[in-house]
Symmetry: C2
Subunit: 335 residues, 2 copies
Amino acid sequence: MKIVLDAMGSDNYPVPDVAGAVLAAREMGGDDQVIVVGDEERVRAELQKYDTAGLPLSVVHSSQVIEMTDKPAQAVKSRPDSSMVVGMDLVKSGQADAFVSAGNTGGVLATALFRLGRIRGIKRPGLTVLFPLPNGPVVLLDVGANADCKPEYLYQFGLMGSAYAERVMGRQRPKVATLSNGEEEGKGNTLVKEAFGLLQASPLNFIGNVEPKELVAGEADVVVTDGFTGNVFVKTAEAVSKMLTGMIGDQIKANPVTTLGGLLAKPAFGRVKRQMDPHEVGGAVLLGVEGVVIVGHGRSNDVAVKNAIRQACAAVQGDLLGAIRQGLADYPSTP
Amino acid sequence: MKIVLDAMGSDNYPVPDVAGAVLAAREMGGDDQVIVVGDEERVRAELQKYDTAGLPLSVVHSSQVIEMTDKPAQAVKSRPDSSMVVGMDLVKSGQADAFVSAGNTGGVLATALFRLGRIRGIKRPGLTVLFPLPNGPVVLLDVGANADCKPEYLYQFGLMGSAYAERVMGRQRPKVATLSNGEEEGKGNTLVKEAFGLLQASPLNFIGNVEPKELVAGEADVVVTDGFTGNVFVKTAEAVSKMLTGMIGDQIKANPVTTLGGLLAKPAFGRVKRQMDPHEVGGAVLLGVEGVVIVGHGRSNDVAVKNAIRQACAAVQGDLLGAIRQGLADYPSTP
């Protein structure tokens, strides 16, 4: 299979992007290949830093870039030779199987919608994160593609998230839940209450509502929510983690004994940090568009880029799109 | 002033409740008084554990209890002699100035709505927490009274939260913000976008959207949101904090050196825990009903109950209700 890597994506493009492509290519076998799309001169200059002889790497030139600060829809339309558009078109034309970028999330979303379009029957694509937990990540969507949702969207998020958990992560009959303000049926806002009914009537393995506590305890494989709440959830988790570790650090440094203790305990903090490191789990997945599309964090390093490429390979190998289409055919919840 | 304390509120009622009333009464001066409402026999048995001679404490008997597991609306109607209903009626009749309970939040909410009613002009009361932050709490509402909200409610939450921050916490011209998925104007779901306009046009000191990151950094004094998102926010913060401290603890115990480090650093962890302890800041406030109503956590200890009573005193002293009424009169956002 062929994976497109947007070389002009990350905050420090093309350095970690190209380095990640090299790492991924080194692990590839068979006919697999990474197609690096970006400014050819800059990409080749980066590639020269590595021994790439015999590696399944090719370069496709593009003269423009969609930057982190760009307004997505506008940028996609005005920059047809950007690495995002050129790369996405390789997927559209069948020359590649998946698209990976550590760039502007809104840009990737807009490019995917404009160039690939939605899977027939899917109302709205869902931006999906693998939220890291001590015993393996939970699939959470939508985290930002749709600030306002209808119950039907949440059902389809469940279908797509379930397909991802099964085909890409190897979870058996994934447990799907709605994020809510209480566990019992009947809790939630109007959206959640209505989505609850749709999900319960569906063939999915729907386990009902989860509160953040249960989500974090790993009680579900897939948690669905509207893109506003999902975004607030993810950002709250990040903000609170940072605040708490910052406060612990400050208090440890407040006196010599606790400072010594902190130094001795440092490896433990490091292990927790790694366990919760989003770089380890790969990127966010845009579920519901006509292609495998992965968006890494702007701060991605080479390992994060490599992991995102591997994640794309796993999605192609597991026939993620086929599974979503099949799910829609088996249970067309709306005529 | 006279503060009603529901003796049958906390998970371990009436033990910490009565103990908290005694602590509060010891700090009171002038004509101030705590009216302890509950099963008289049990309350008096608790009171006998302390030297209450001369303390401004009185007991009002009630024969029924609204338990944590009760369905609120039903319980309020079927138990007219419950401590919540009897206590709330003391406020309604003017025999007391405020009501404090560490009981069933939904029960307190329903009792307040049925017995006190809303302040004239207020569309929906907002359940308000003082979310603990390193540099002092932020006022956050709604965290659960209204899962579905209209923009007008969010504006009124801003008005009420601002009155609370100013009159009870002494913040000057409190900064009010909407919780959103992005800082810029135009970010948010439809509700947030419409509330943004209302708040911006109001006399409040509206600073725009905050993401969880900015909320946690203390950039606003008051943050308004719908009761679903607010509830998810608070529960996410709690769940992630617990998960993280649990993971750190596990990793520290994983080897002898880090275990020793953890022991030495323990006081630092204790200080962080106290800084973030909701018991220290008092209870949640039900803003928008015709009385000062404070709901403490079910796990409240005596100090938490005392702090909630002090918080009620401060709200009465600051004429919180008067400030809300004045705000409505000055800027009747809807005719």
